[in-house]
């Protein structure tokens, strides 16, 4: 793993799942400080002062209800959103300040796996995977044959890794949901990323397929020593491989814990138990959080 990112002062933040040291043996892939994001001229506060660090190689899972700010948080890390306040640093790059070429260079190193796959259904799997290499080539590409042969070979290998090597030239929208997400994972791997951000990657898949796709994603990332930040609804899916859990609620971090014997299931589920449809028990819940 490269260590060209600057060491960051970690003293005020416990790094979980790795031992921090001042002389920089562990560097942080992601540093988020006091991140605030509002929508609709401040009427909606999606993120409300979020701070955390992620050391390289960590497997971090973010849990929380829909609307708790998970997606918004992840989308700040590759510049799909710009913060209202606070700072976001990924691989040593100040993300909100990065524009144009600098932002594109950063995005090459940061893969993103979307809940809705976000692949182009009309194109073949091969073309979708090849689009992961767009950051490496210059100029627009129409059709697989416009990519050099070496990239096509590499794309085929990535498809093999996700078990779809035999579907290379099939139209992606003829595949099942789980397979489409695997194509999207192959596209992300094609970037040879150092970080993978996964935004509820299995939320639109059935439970069994979810497990398989999640295993595949994690396996690939471990093999390639990729840092993972993944938002998930299924806590049980997370506990198997994550080494850190962050719980978000109303745009704030309410849980930040390493995944070990001390992490009990109830305290995790507490993140989800905030649902208070009538609003009557709001005070009670606030007390629990405090």
């Amino acid at each position: 793993m490269t260590t060209d990112t600057p060491a960051i002062d970690l003293t005020d933040n416990p790094v979980l799942g790795a031992t921090p040291s001042r002389n920089g043996s562990v560097t942080n892939a992601v540093v988020v400080r006091d991140l605030v994001k509002t929508f609709d001229d401040g009427r909606v506060r999606a993120l409300d002062g979020v701070s955390f660090d992620v050391p390289e190689g960590q497997m971090l899972v973010i849990i929380g209800l829909s609307g708790s700010g998970k997606s918004t948080l992840l989308r700040h890390l590759n510049g799909l959103h710009t913060p209202t306040e606070g700072s976001v640093e990924v691989l040593g790059v100040d993300v909100p300040a990065a524009k144009g070429r600098q932002l594109r260079t950063l995005r090459r190193d940061v893969g993103f796996v979307f809940q809705q796959f976000n692949i182009v259904g009309r194109l073949s799997c091969m073309e979708n995977v090849l689009s992961g290499a767009l950051g490496r080539v210059r100029g627009p590409r129409l059709g697989a044959l416009m990519y050099p042969r070496s990239l096509r070979e590499e794309a085929l290998r990535k498809l093999d890794r996700v078990g779809l090597g035999d579907r290379a030239w099939q139209r992606t929208d003829t595949l099942s949901g789980g397979q489409q997400q695997r194509v999207a994972i192959a596209r992300t791997l094609m970037q040879n990323p150092r970080i993978v951000l996964a935004d509820e990657p299995v939320a639109s898949l059935d439970p069994e397929i979810s497990g398989q796709v999640m295993d595949l994603l994690v396996q690939c990332c471990i093999e390639d020593n990729i840092t993972v930040l993944c938002s998930l609804h299924q806590v049980d899916l997370a506990l198997g491989w994550a080494n850190r859990l962050i719980g978000l609620q109303d745009g704030r971090i309410v849980l930040d814990s390493p995944v070990d014997a001390d992490l009990d299931h109830d305290s995790v589920m507490e993140v989800y138990r905030r649902l208070d449809p009538t609003g009557e028990k709001a005070d009670e819940y606030q007390a629990v959080v405090a």
Binding site: G121, R122, S131, G139, G163, Q170, R171, T174, Q179, D215
Partner: protein
Amino acid sequence: MTVAIDSPRSAPERPGPASPGGAPSSVSPPWTAKRATMYALAVGFLAASVWGLWRVDIDVRGIIEGWPETQNLLERMWRPVIASEDRSVIIQALLDTFFMAFAGTAIGVLLSIPLAFAAAENVMPYRVVRVVARALIVFTRAVPTIAFALVFVRVYGIGVLPGIIAIGLHSIGMIGKLLADAIEEIDPGPREGVLATGAGPFQDMATGIWSQITPTVISVSLYRLEIDFRGAPILGFVGAGGIGVILRGYQGNLRYPDLLGVALLFVVLVVIMEIASSLTRRAILGSEGATPRRSAGLLTGLLRRRPASLPTSTSMSAGGAATGSAPMAPTRERSLRPPWTKDRIRLNVAAAIGVLLFVLSFVVPDISFREMFVELTNLPEIVWRLIPKDLAWFTARVRSDLLETVAIGFASTFLALLVAIPLSFVAASNTAPGRASYAIARFTALLVRAAPDIVVAVLLVVAIGLGPAAGTLALAFGLIGFATKLFADNIEEVRQGPRDGVVSSGAGRLQDLGTAVTPQALPSLVGNSLYLLDISLRSSTVLGIVGAGGIGFLLQNASKTLDFQTMGGIILSIFVIVYAIELLAGWVRRQII
């Protein structure tokens, strides 16, 4: 208050307290601003139509009294012939017409694509560029082909080339708009996926956008080719080549059987062209062209006869493959080049034919690219001379003819609606009284639609004499076919659920149509009626060229006498009128939705 409009019947049943102010709850729907606007618009359209009918003065009694004479004329005409001595000229003219339409559409598409990207809000970040691109698209749409043709006949001289350029420029208006809208409506997800890999703006356009809009580009281009081919005869009347030259000759020499013969031949060719176009669309796009989006994935999967691609079977096998050990695939599929599937072969053959036809479009009518660009140097000077420097051109005659054009537009739309609305219920599969009447209505609509306005106008001028009445009837005739098709499609899109509800409450057939079908289809029906008004106004500007009323006569005259000021003034007026109607239509459409 607006909620109450949607359920006027249930309002009185509500046992709630009397409305504020102590007045009893009304049993009539309340007069909201929106409702008043709707009524005002309906009354306004009716008034404009009545005024239009009065202005164009369709003398029903005159037509009836003069019927024996007309009949006599028609009988003489009703021996359509293709004169054998003219056969080679006619074939050459038909070929010219086709290639003129093809090259024109192709140029239109090529120019539209960059304009559409520049006009799309989700691509072009600079407002100024977007506004300029949109303005160019609107301008080319609002200026009729014939106006462009008259200008370019002055640039290139008489021939096919000005026709090609005129078709190309006017086509931008429609193609550019539809493509820009298509770009703005694409799914942002895949684009985000592409951008997240670190792609640049042009890579995003190619991989994220272009790959999503190609079906739209293909179907819009083919559709525009049909329109351009059908509309091409008018160009010959102003010296821009094609079959119109022959039609004008026959009209001038009173060779009516020949006129009818060539006109019918052309109508047949238009029908063949439409069938060929829809077959091409299907061949290239497969099920995508027929049913955009909805279940396209499943359908293409089924159509390709690849059992492995069926979603159900594949999702089952996902687990085994997901472990990372890919099953060894046949060598053919391990290729680094896309396999030659039927779809890919078809697409490549279609593309090759397209390029071949484009080249032929310049070879067959003998056009030199050199001439095309060299002569363009005259354009700025001509455009400068076209810009009116004063209002001398705005004579009483111009004013009166412009009004007549608007009158023809309203009157013909009104007449067409009168016939098309009832007919469309017969031509819609879900409301047709029977299979046979449905088929007959659809086929009639297709045939009627295939006859170019100008051809019908020429024939009607012969039958009932010069003047706006012939033009109005000619336009109404064509619009009936078009409107019936559009309306029937709208009616077919109506959901069945509300109809079941109405019928199960004991409603009869007509009650079902009135209560369940019409309200559902109404927004699209009104929207499309406005679209018809738009079209008929645009078409009414050209009728004068064959003596069927409106501003076209003066426009052609000005061109003949090289009165550039008047020509430019009239073109500007047409642009203003057409654009004003388009803005009005857009506003009304937003009010309905």
